[in-house]
């Protein structure tokens, strides 16, 4: 499964399984949404109390464990960490907030495009603009310094946490919150969702599928490898949505989406820029977390905290549109991203070296 064929197949599998998950109960155009699903987990753990978005999503657990198992098997599992952990935590947090202003991570943006949601095209424009800004800083020497080998057990902890989440899901103790209405209550059967995560976890680990890497590598090196996966998801989910009658072209009345164009654009611009600084989209961070990269685990933890903050502070959008608090937070985040980008770019801030 090497080369371009592999990444096209992996993208195709993501597109196909997404539509199937939607058919069997996941919220609309949400076969996979790393941001939404981490937000649901944050809610299930009681970190936020938005009653409609609380569920331990088995897809997340499957993605991490799929990447973990295949990387062990192929001897690619390696505990590494120590590359600017707190900046990564904060970047994870702001990427999540941007995604919840738009209502979806880059993967869900792609799935929304494949279902005819034109708001996601506006989001894509913002996403590309954000990536472009990030790439400019990469060309000015932006980096978060190197990582180091960690004790083996460091990398095992996050996969074990995911097993723990699965046990909490199955046993459903009283202190875990499960939505009774809203998107959090809509879910494909547990084992199907887990399997969907495992399959894509394996494929994404093998192919390094990444929603931000495709456009970034095109801009940096004219390398289209990862972009093929991105396009493949759109094409296959488009075909799947057409054949199941889910395709609905337009701006209004799209599932779990709003029509506030400016904030769809700016929310995804935050996600694009922040993800370039992190070195990968939320999906990629999850996969790396399974491979023993604890810098990515820290980013994922930042995303979970970001999701909790987004709902506790009223930053997350709803189908009615973006909130005032959400808009203010996006502006603050742009200032934050500019500062982080400047001071970590070796050619700009000479004191960094």
């Amino acid at each position: 499964m090497k080369g371009k064929k592999g990444i096209i197949l992996a993208g195709g599998a993501v597109g196909l399984i997404s539509v199937i998950l939607g058919y069997y109960g996941n919220p609309g155009n949400m076969g996979y949404c790393i941001a939404c699903f981490l937000r649901d987990i944050a809610g299930a753990l009681g970190l936020h109390r938005a009653g409609v978005v609380q569920y331990i999503r088995p897809e997340i657990i499957g993605l991490v464990l799929g990447a973990f198992l295949i990387s062990l098997k192929n001897k690619e599992f390696e505990s590494r960490g120590g590359s600017a952990p707190f900046m990564r935590f904060m970047l994870g947090m702001v990427v999540m907030i941007g995604a919840l202003v738009f209502l979806g991570c880059p993967l869900r943006m792609v799935l929304r495009i494949g279902a005819g949601d034109l708001n996601a095209i506006v989001g894509l424009a913002g996403f590309l603009a954000g990536i472009l800004v990030g790439v400019r800083f990469l060309n000015k020497g932006f980096n978060l310094k190197r990582n180091y080998k960690m004790p083996k057990i460091e990398g095992y902890i996050f996969p074990v946490v995911n097993v723990g989440w699965f046990i909490l899901l199955i046993t459903a103790p009283a202190f875990i919150f499960f939505s009774e209405t809203g998107p959090g209550s809509q879910a494909a059967p547990i084992l199907m969702s887990l399997a969907a995560g495992l399959i894509v976890g394996v494929l994404a680990q093998k192919t390094r599928l990444c929603m931000v890497g495709g456009s970034r590598d095109m801009m940096l090196f004219k390398d289209n490898y990862l972009l093929l996966g991105f396009i493949s998801i759109i094409v296959v989910s488009f075909i799947g949505n057409i054949s199941l009658g889910f395709f609905n072209l337009g701006f209004a009345g799209q599932p779990v989406a709003h029509t506030d164009g400016l904030w769809n654009f700016l929310g995804m611009a935050v996600v694009g820029w922040g993800s370039v600084l992190l070195g990968g989209c939320p999906l990629r961070q999850l996969i790396l977390s399974g491979e023993g990269n604890t810098d990515s685990v820290v980013s994922v933890m930042g995303m979970i905290v970001g999701a909790a903050i987004a709902h506790n502070f009223g930053l997350a959008s709803s189908p009615a549109g973006a909130t005032l608090n959400g808009k203010v937070s996006v502006i603050i985040i742009f200032v934050f991203l500019a500062i982080i980008s400047y001071f970590n770019s070796d050619d700009l801030a000479k004191t960094n070296i």
Binding site: E76, N139, L144, F221, D223, Y225
Partner: protein, 68 residues
């Protein structure tokens, strides 16, 4: 031959560092990488930039030798 050390850097940094170093030393370069992802990415970049690459294992790391 000039050598750069990209160990510990996460993608796309190894490729960016390779690109920068090749701009200064277009005749050839040795690149030290410490994981399969970086090895694959740097190798693909070298190929598309018209270099031939020889890969040798060095303990847990890889040395990519790029020549025009």
């Amino acid at each position: 031959m000039n050598r750069i050390d990209t160990r510990g850097m996460s993608c796309p940094q190894p490729v960016l560092m390779t690109k920068k170093a090749l701009d200064k030393n277009p005749e050839g370069l040795e690149i030290l990488v410490d994981n399969n992802t970086a090895k694959g990415n740097v190798e693909r970049f070298l190929k598309s930039s018209g270099y031939t690459t020889k890969i040798t294992e060095d303990g847990e790391d890889f040395i990519l030798e790029a020549k025009k």
